[in-house]
Amino acid sequence: MRFNEKELVSLSRQPSEMAAEMGMRGPKKGDVLKKRLVKLVVNFLFYFRTDEEEPIGALLLEQCRVQKEDNQSFSIAYMDEAERKYLFECGSEEQCQKWIDSIVKASYEFMRKNLIYYRTEIHRLTGKDPLEQYGISEETRFQVTNGMQFMPRDTSSL
């Protein structure tokens, strides 16, 4: 599958509040913990070999489950599959929690739900649709859609 690699690499170089060295372990059997520079930019988690300019890889932070693991670690899992669970070891419990919160809040779908909530509430409190002033009230992406499901198996809320 083709993708705009150069543009994504350029994105990975943007300044980010969440960038730190930590241990990272891939999901496959035999994968070992390696020291990586992990960086959160928009809804992607980039990881670099320390002191390298181009990231090794990028993880899209949508449709994933982020949870705390033992000690000072957290994991990101996709499709509830063990073969798609990435482990991250932070320097402290505090740092670990901060990363979990940041990753959850970075998800586009999470932000969209927040937007819809605020839109609904502002309308209820003031009688006005706050998106009208920006001329975007009819945009499909800001509507409450029927496509959203809240079944327990659906991890889209993360």
Binding site: E5, Q63, T120, E121, L125
Partner: protein, 264 residues
């Protein structure tokens, strides 16, 4: 750089909303020819394949750090995705008609994570202010009017959307605060949620006091389990309306104090 494809294809096929899809012609730079592709826009990702039913994805474009421009020089109904930094690409597209072109241009302009982030922050501010307005709606506040205007102006300056109508106006809550104090009840919308089109009650959070930004939404919450809370929450409106009605009734008639219907 490795982009974990399975994660992306899973995201494409899952139940999160499709923001736009349709055929567009995509220009192949090497041969300067246009090929018809089926595009699916989800969040800040633009996927493309040959046909809608295809399992095989041809590619994806991450929509961060780019602008959308209409290109008259590229022919009819053409537009481009321009990644502004040196050495980066420009993707060229053509639509079949003006309406399709306009629709895609507008949607792509609003598709980035950065844009959504700004918009959510702005609305978060407006929400906090609207809550405060409602809390002290009975008294006269002259300072909050200017604060509200400032927050809306800040965001509109950041929006570079040529097709959006950016109006610098005060929100209604600001103007009602500056009117006579007897009007604050108009600030609260008395309509039940179901009268507002396209609104889905299941998306509204259900716990009593409003959660702070960042604490909402609840991970994996099930609206069906919380329905009694949803019911109570919207019932507050009914309760308020009823109290007002009772208050407004003339006090002389004694029987007006009793309920007309015995609710037991």
């Amino acid at each position: 750089m490795k982009l974990h494809e399975k994660i992306l294809t899973h995201f494409l096929s899952c139940t999160s909303p499709v923001d736009k899809e349709g055929y567009l012609y995509k220009k192949k730079e090497r041969t300067a020819t246009y090929h018809r592709r089926w595009f699916v826009l989800k969040a800040n990702l633009l996927f493309y394949q040959e046909r809608p039913a295809d399992r095989h994805l041809l590619g994806v474009i991450v929509l961060e750090g780019c602008t959308v421009t209409r290109s008259k020089s590229d022919g009819q109904f053409a537009f481009s995705l321009v990644f502004d930094r040196p050495g980066l690409k420009t993707y060229r597209f053509a639509a079949v008609d003006h309406q399709t072109q306009e629709s895609w241009v507008k949607t792509l302009l609003l598709a980035s994570h950065c844009y959504l982030s700004l918009l959510v922050r702005d609305l978060g501010r407006q929400y906090e202010e609207a809550k405060q307005q409602q809390g002290c709606g009975e008294s006269f506040h002259s300072s909050s009017g200017s604060v509200l205007q400032q927050s809306t102006t800040n965001f509109s300056l950041l929006v570079q959307n040529p097709t959006a109508v950016v109006r610098e106006g005060r929100s209604s809550s600001a103007s009602s605060v500056l009117q006579a104090p007897s009007l604050p009840t108009n600030v609260v919308a008395k309509r039940s949620p179901k009268l507002w089109p396209r609104r889905n009650a299941h998306v509204t959070p259900l716990n009593g006091p409003m959660p702070l930004y960042g604490e909402w939404p609840l991970v994996g919450f099930d609206p069906l389990q919380e329905f009694s809370k949803l019911h109570d929450y919207y019932g507050l409106e009914v309760k308020k309306a009823r109290e007002e009605w009772l208050r407004r009734r003339p006090a002389e008639k004694e029987h007006s104090d009793k309920d007309l219907i015995d609710l037991g």
